[in-house]
């Protein structure tokens, strides 16, 4: 009974800045989550610029069609002086970006774990009768907003692009790689709305 009272108390505190318990933790997690996504988008843009440079170097260094008969070595001969080093530099930069992104995915997974812990705790305390924490969502509802598995498959895709982009010879394939990098096909369109919903619910965004 006392626990139920505590849960109600934290729910009724929704307008105040002195949140406690699950609400406090979820509000902080939502802020972290938002920061992770902002950081991810920034890295994605930086990565796109680097990937575009790499693809430009690849398409510029493509052999002249007339020389194709000479063989594969033409590709390397036609690279401008210092081109290989520049290409290597850009690939290293892209590698750094992907590394930072994998750091973000780790953070996201930690958030997800912390949230599932919170969910279990609330479930245990209230036997499934949790009142809304802020406006209308219960602890369990918040679980639907995190999209760690999507980010993880997106990271795998980006790692693959990183590995293959500088070796790819077909301009169409290079274009598909760039397209995949920009549009992030593993992250569904509605997740952005979910994030906005989360920020509205927790009061980070004003209604």
């Amino acid at each position: 009974m006392f626990l139920l009272f505590c849960a109600f108390f934290s729910g009724s505190n929704r307008k105040s800045t002195a949140l406690t318990g699950s609400a406090r933790k979820i509000k902080d997690n939502a802020a972290d989550f938002h920061n992770i996504i902002l950081r991810w988008d920034k890295l994605n843009n930086e990565g796109l610029n680097i990937a575009t440079k790499i693809s430009n170097k690849r398409t510029q260094s493509r052999p002249n069609p007339d020389l194709l008969v000479v063989g594969e070595s033409v590709l390397f001969q036609s690279l401008p002086a210092g081109g290989a080093e520049e290409l290597q530099d850009e690939c290293c930069k892209l590698q750094d970006i992907v590394k930072k992104m994998s750091g973000l995915v780790l953070k996201m997974e930690r958030l997800l774990e912390s949230h599932s812990g919170l969910s279990d705790l609330d479930q245990f305390r209230t036997q499934g009768l949790t009142p809304p924490l802020f406006q209308t969502w219960t602890t369990a509802d918040f679980g639907e907003s995190w999209f760690s598995p999507d980010l993880l498959s997106e990271l795998d895709l980006k790692t693959l692009i990183l590995q293959d982009l500088a070796h790819c010879e077909s301009p169409d394939m290079i274009m598909v790689y760039l397209s995949l990098w920009i549009h992030e096909p593993h992250i569904p369109v509605q997740t952005r709305l979910g994030l906005e919903g989360l920020l509205l619910e927790t009061g980070h965004r004003d209604l």
């Binding site: 693959l160 590995q163 394939m173 369109v189």
Partner: protein, 202 residues
């Protein structure tokens, strides 16, 4: 008598020229905003074409199931967003065209109402600062026709775009730019200069 009855017509003419002057700027701004949108539309078409030429199952990407469908969906979504913005711009162009058309047609209505009292010599009379009514009405009609034609051409270009017709979409930015008619735009600016003394004199 004729000079007296010319006053409402002069007022309507002033109003129409001011309307063209204000809307000419809006028109230019909207068209400038359309440029980058058309470029992104062309880019998206290129991405579609590249995707359809590549068989992802024969590339390292085969480890991701449904990747092609997912990317195709995202590309369609991005195209939708760009098209939505372009249609918003188109409706701004339409409102420019409508406001110019309504001002110009009100000038012609007034002229029609006064046609009994206005002598041809009055309509063609001009001075160093005021061009003749006949000339001004012709310029108005030219400007009106220009905006109408431009709007219809740009609208039909957007209407012919289909999400599955990549070659149309790819060539859209060039076709959009080819619709520019700097000479007519220049003539309208020129005309506004010619009537500047007239519009400023109340």
């Amino acid at each position: 008598m004729s000079q007296m009855s010319l006053t409402p017509l002069h007022q309507a003419l002033r109003k129409a020229f001011q309307c063209i002057e204000n809307n000419q700027r809006t028109w230019r701004t909207v068209l400038d905003e359309c440029g980058p949108l058309m470029v992104s539309l062309g880019n998206l078409a290129e991405q579609f074409v590249a995707l359809s030429k590549v068989d992802l199952y024969k590339t390292p990407l085969k480890v991701f199931p449904d990747l092609e469908e997912k990317l195709r969906f995202k590309l369609h979504h991005a195209t939708d967003t760009v098209m939505g913005k372009l249609h918003e711009k188109l409706s701004s162009l339409q409102s420019v065209r409508d406001s110019i058309s309504s001002q110009v047609s009100s000038v012609f209505q007034i002229q029609e109402q006064l046609s009994q009292t206005l002598d041809i010599s009055v309509l063609t009379e001009r001075s160093a600062t005021v061009p003749s009514v006949a000339d001004m009405m012709q310029w108005l009609q030219d400007a009106d026709r220009h905006y109408r034609q431009q709007f219809v051409k740009r609208k039909s270009l957007l209407l012919t775009l289909r999400p599955d017709d990549f070659s149309q979409m790819e060539s859209a930015p060039d076709r959009w730019n080819s619709l520019e008619s700097p000479n007519t735009e220049h003539r309208i600016t020129d005309m506004l200069c010619k009537v500047s003394f007239f519009t400023e004199s109340q």
